[in-house]
Amino acid sequence: MKTRIELAAPFVFGAMALGLWQFAVWAMGVPPYVLPGPIAIAAAYAGDYAVLNPALVSTLTVTFTALAAATAIGVALAVAMAASSLFRAAVQPWAVMLQVTPVVAIAPLIIIWVNQPFVALVVCAAIVAFFPILSNTAAGLAAVPSDLLDLFKLNGATRWQTLFLLQLPSALPSFLTGLRISGTLALVGAVVAEFVAGSGGFASGLAYRIIEASYRLEIPRMFAALFLLGISGIVIYAALGLLSAALLRRRDGA
């Protein structure tokens, strides 16, 4: 359990950093088109929230759809890999290859291949996000204590019984760790895909607003959009952490 000071620490640290930033910008007379201070950024958000908030919703829609797709694909592949070592041997190197391929490089192609802009963005974000779920779930499925597998064998368990009553519940903590990493990666993937797609894509996400603001030298507005992204990342990470703690508490009892 975190102490009160630990809970307050990130807010205090953030406020101090913002204060220092504001002071530095003011003291050194940095113009806002080079580096706006936090007050200018807040003012830009106050003026533009009617544009920025829907853009955030659009990006988050892509993020969560991609996370759901990544979860489904990652878990399904992990289960198949646990069931068949041949499948694992065949697929694992290609999954790693997909993971290290920069999504910036393949996003233009995906946007051409997939006619629907929304689906194209989701595909890009899901490619970025699925690997931690796959590798963590696969590790969790493989880490079932051998004694328990023996116990299931002695009692004549079928493969499905072993999967649903033993392997999947055992892999839950590892899966949740992967999900937490993938949650923030899905956001990164969505933003990168929006960047590449630009106005040819969905033209409504936060990345598009960032590009637009930078073209127009509306730097405070650009920073406001960046802040929204950053805060979304923190919220997604924290929310998945809380979800994971709640699920595990429910699973194993208080």
Binding site: P145, D150, L154, D252
Partner: protein, 246 residues
């Protein structure tokens, strides 16, 4: 009920774990397999369970009738409970795997948990149970399907001494009440002497049967304090010294 005939086991890496083991285990016996680490006693237990196959020789059940699912109760060194399941759900597992409905066996599960002294912890999850209680759940899980034989692989080795004594006493009275055949692997001379009606001493590398002793310690509250107990401990100690020099 169980005939082990000239069984040898060589692992894939070439290690000869067991060589020419023969023994006949009768129904209702409490057999301790005793020996130092690496003498193959756990491997022999896994062969009996059918979790490993013998390289040579045979293990025959009741004149040829092979045990089916649930005929073998196995208790591992760790309790190996499902952490997300209550004591009752853990005990239900072997029955569930064979398609029994929970409502039909709820009474049996409660009764089995009562037999191991856990009547007040039926709905408790492993996290909230002590090490000894977890092991009791594990024993109940092995007993619930009324197996032909209970195979136990150093089940009390990880428990503190006080808890171990309590569990040993309870296991013995459970055996006396049920007449269940038990094969119990241990490296503790005292545990084997206290628990078993028959002690098979194994020597290491490769595992062979050094001696097969029938216990004649009188029943009663003072089992551990009787002269027969001390004499048997000394006899086993000497045998082990000869069978497995340093």
């Amino acid at each position: 009920m169980l005939a082990i005939q000239s069984v040898s086991k060589r692992f894939d890496n070439g290690t000869l774990a067991l060589e020419n083991i023969s023994a006949i285990i009768e129904t209702g016996e409490f057999v301790a397999l005793l020996g130092p680490s690496g003498c193959g006693k756990s491997t022999l237990l896994r062969l009996i369970a059918g979790l490993e196959t013998a390289s040579n020789g045979s293990i025959t059940w009741n004149e040829g009738k092979q045990p089916g699912p649930g005929d073998i109760g196995f208790v591992f060194q760790d309790a190996t409970l499902l952490p997300w399941a209550t004591a009752a759900e853990n005990v239900y597992l072997p029955l569930r795997l064979r398609g029994r409905r929970k409502a039909d066996v709820a009474g049996l599960i409660d009764a089995t948990l009562s037999r191991v002294g856990l009547q007040d912890f039926i709905q408790t999850r492993p996290k909230a149970l002590s090490g000894g209680m977890k092991m009791r759940v594990s024993i109940a899980r092995a007993l619930v399907s009324d197996p032909l034989v209970l195979l136990m692989d150093e089940p009390f080795a990880a428990l503190d001494e006080f808890t171990r004594h309590r569990l040993q006493e309870d296991l013995r009275s459970l055996w006396r009440q049920s007449g269940k055949t038990i094969v119990f692997v241990t490296h503790s001379i005292y545990e084997a002497t206290y628990l078993a009606s028959r002690i098979i001493i194994m020597s290491p590398r490769p595992g062979r049967i050094a001696t097969d002793i029938r216990s004649s310690i009188p029943e009663g509250a003072n089992r551990r304090g009787s002269p027969e107990y001390t004499a048997l401990v000394n006899a086993i100690t000497n045998t082990l010294r000869q069978a497995a020099p340093e």
